[in-house]
């Protein structure tokens, strides 16, 4: 652990101190050139940004961490989705337990129900499981999901009602209103829904992105969805975010388009890649165009600062919603989640 911390110091970036309202966590991997069995030492897991701009590694050093969610009652309790399963810490990262067993693997997402915080929902490549007891047990609750086509990339709990959850699957967006006792498809797609987000200002407003249907918006709590003009529908979009400081501002990212933003509630979109690393060559020469390779975007609810993780490059930030960018360090990283926790509830 001493070694990890010393390496982390080298990842430290000098930035202004965070505003007082939220703690800033990321779920990230510095896995450039990593493969299973690799002798490369990588630093991964959950990091918290301190007031002086340094990142504190909270563990665990798992290269595959994909998502992070906190118990709103106690921020020392949080859950991490990873290839090994659902890791849980009850003491702020000092100790960890892989709460799932061999029958659940390669978790893609998870979310704690803020109105029923013992309930944790996990998105699996072969469905959905829900823990009713803080991760001690994990029954699969898939009634209403198809036998095939339930690959689940993203899962998000509606903060306004316990047990109301949206899931982004291979075959569309599914909704439960009874804590996953039953699911129904509210929007069909040809390919995977990759992200779902609820507006911090209007709980009825939701955004989604996908591999085949572009970006989507719902104004009725996820019951109906319509495509947003602008973002491409023929390329995978990775994630989308609201700006908590400005209800009209959205940002999304993908490998192909980099960062796109809208400042008029999704009516129009602009690519915002000037200042990010140059495009990388397409994966297949002669047929795939160069790409910006942006992995994740998030917005600081205190400052409106937009963050973008460029995979294998670094973390970037923008104080003008993507018009200019600056390098924030974390060289070689991929950030899988930006999480801003209200400090007052701690």
């Amino acid at each position: 652990m001493k070694f990890l911390r010393s390496v982390l110091l080298s990842l430290t970036v000098a930035t202004s101190a965070l505003a007082a309202g939220h703690d800033f966590y990321i779920c990230a991997a510095t896995n450039r050139n990593y493969v299973v069995g690799s002798v490369i030492v990588t630093i991964n897991g959950v990091f918290r940004r301190e007031a002086n701009g340094e990142w504190t590694h909270l563990g665990n050093n798992d290269v595959t961490v994909t998502a992070l969610s906190f118990d709103p009652r106690d921020h020392n309790v949080f859950y991490v989705a990873a290839i090994n399963g659902c890791w849980r810490t009850l003491d702020g990262g000092k100790t960890w337990r892989c709460t799932t067993s061999w029958d659940m693997t390669e978790l893609k997402d998870l979310d704690v129900d803020p109105n029923a915080p013992d309930h944790v929902y996990i998105a699996l490549p072969d469905g959905i499981a829900v823990s009713p007891d803080r991760g001690n047990t994990w029954p699969r609750l898939e009634n209403g999901l198809p036998d095939r086509g339930k690959y689940t990339q993203t899962i998000r709990v509606d903060r306004t009602k316990a047990g109301r959850v949206l899931a982004g699957c291979e075959t569309g967006i599914y909704l439960t209103e009874n804590s996953a006792q039953s699911w129904r498809r509210v929007f069909p797609t040809k390919d995977t829904i990759t992200d779902l987000q609820q507006s911090p200002s209007d709980p009825k407003l939701w955004l989604a992105v996908s591999q085949s249907a572009g970006a989507l918006i719902s104004r009725d709590g996820g019951l109906t969805w319509t495509p947003l003009a602008g973002p491409p529908a023929d390329k995978a979009l990775y994630n989308i975010t609201f700006d908590p400081t400005n209800p009209a501002r959205f940002a999304l990212c993908s490998w192909s388009v980099g960062v796109m933003t809208s400042e008029d509630g999704g009516a129009t979109w602009v690519e915002r890649n000037a200042g990010l690393p140059g495009k990388k060559a397409g994966f297949r020469m002669d047929s795939d165009p160069p790409a910006h390779c942006v992995w994740r975007v998030g917005v600081d609810p205190d400052s409106g600062r937009l963050y973008a993780s460029v995979i294998g490059e670094a973390l970037y930030s923008s104080d003008d919603f993507g018009r200019t960018w600056k390098n924030e360090g974390l060289e070689g990283s991929a950030v899988n989640r930006f999480v801003f926790l209200p400090r007052a509830t701690k």
Binding site: V35, V36, V39, V41, N84, G85, P125
Partner: protein, 636 residues
Amino acid sequence: MKPFFGFLAFALFLAGSAPAQPAFSGPMPVPPPDTRGDTLRRAYLDRVHEVLVWYADTVKPEKPETIGTGQIVAKLALRQDAALVSARIVELMKQPQTGDMFWMFPWAAISYLGRDQLSPEAKAAIRDAWRTYFPLRGDTENHWAMYYSSLYLMSELYPDDPADSWFTGKSSAENRAEAKAYLIHWMDLATTIGQGEFNPTHYIGEYAIPMLYLATWSKDPEMKIRGHMMLDWLMAELADNSLNGVLRGPNARTTEASVVEHWNSLSSFFTWTMFGNTPPPASYGGFGIFFAGAAENYQVPAVIYQVAVDRSQDYVQRDLKRTRRRWRYSDQFMPPIYKTSYMHRDYSVGSYQGGVSDPIQTHVWDVMWAVPDPRGVNNTIYSLHPYASAHTLQTYFTEQPDEMISSLSGQGKPSYDVPDKVLGSSPYERVFQDRDTVIALYDIPAGTAYPRINGFFSKDLIRVTEDKSGWIFAQGGRTYLAYRPLAPYRWEHLLGYKQLPSKSGYKWERTDPGEHGDKLLVSEHLQNGTIVQAASVDEFASFEAFQAAIKALPLEFKLGPVPVVKLTTLRGTRISFTYGQAPVVNGTPLDYSKWKLFEGLYLNAEKGSRKLTITHGQLKRVLDFNTLSITDSVLP
């Protein structure tokens, strides 16, 4: 998607600094004529001892960096230098641990081998690493075999430790229960509907080594015998599918090198060790030492030995396997693989029905001919559609689509996305095999990347003759070969891959071996096909007579709207094969639903039975996972 090829680098590292390997560089081994048990046992232990001594001799006490996990295993197995090894372990454990499940099994072996040799400090250092290091479980069945076998054994070694002493955050009992449940689940799949990573050229080690460890060290009698039985099962399949110690296709997983030079793989370490009928690969395949460290606790049974070395009788074997897990884009989670093999003393032919079994590294069919010495010989012929697709990768891997293809090259799979690849499967290939005839049909949708068929023509073929009939005739060893492309073609040099020095990931350079290297038959037509017929030189008075016989075979084919071939084979079988339909053999459509788990001369099992019967001559062994019993008998 996080595959692993680190052992190749490991082998290269050793090859550069190690003493000569007797068996690797020596003459071709010959299985002893005396097949009595004690003779075979002595020869087996001699081979194991060679591995241990070779590794131990790479140690230079004044250079601690020469003592890695392989050397530690060797020293402990030979019961040498416990103090030196203990000190080195303490040093190694102070460094960050890497390697995930590939880290776990060597250290599990070292923990067991060192129980009565290592210092308390060394033991404590290893034990603590299982608390502080977070190895990944991985995403393949071979990863999980290593992960859970290692975790199981370590939690048996420390049976009552609390949750906070393990990286999983689970107690010894919890780890043990989870690991046991998974391992039984995997064995259940393999013994009812077939293995996922079947006939792997390299990953066989990732299964055989953990099974040996369970058989050797498990305290639980159930896991001990399960390990032994699965190891028998793996070795029986290896014996049945190898010719003179060389494993041929099809393979769920293989490599760019092994797919053409079949001998050059870890599987040859196992055939050498078990059967003594081929040389081992360089550095004993890298992982060989980890088998050798516990190998004295195993002996391949006589019936499996005989299956491996006796090629006096031709045989057909049909097996049931399954694909890798399909997370999405498929109606089935693990669709069945129907595998056919034909073995002759001069050559072997193997295939499955086509389609994608694993998105990377799958080899669907080939003919392999026997050679006096397989080292450096590319003794095979086959064709494929060079397919690469992010969508297909996403079927099997749970990752975003864009990065995967580009990252494969850096992960040791340089040919995944190149048009001249000679390794891989395609959803647009359908294959049917009847004994030593293979028909491969292709129906490639317009717009698919790389609309071409690659036929592999080895540098080691002789008498390659393009006949005006459309057949291409050749000879490999004592095998005559007839290859019929169904559409026009051209020739390319097959470029090689030279690995460049790199401290991170893999870097490659393409190299042209020139006129004397391997060649590709390239046919750039979307509807396409290949027919290959093999025969022994003993069957014909001359090469010309073979050609005449082939040209006389009744053959009709058309390529549109889908490819169709009607052929009467050299063996008199009437085949009608239409792309996308069940092959019709002598007027009867093939019913794959009746395929057994194993059906052949030596290996037999009913689907779902959990029971494999291995026979050779009067010898018989039954591996029954229902009763967890091994039953040997001598037939009247």
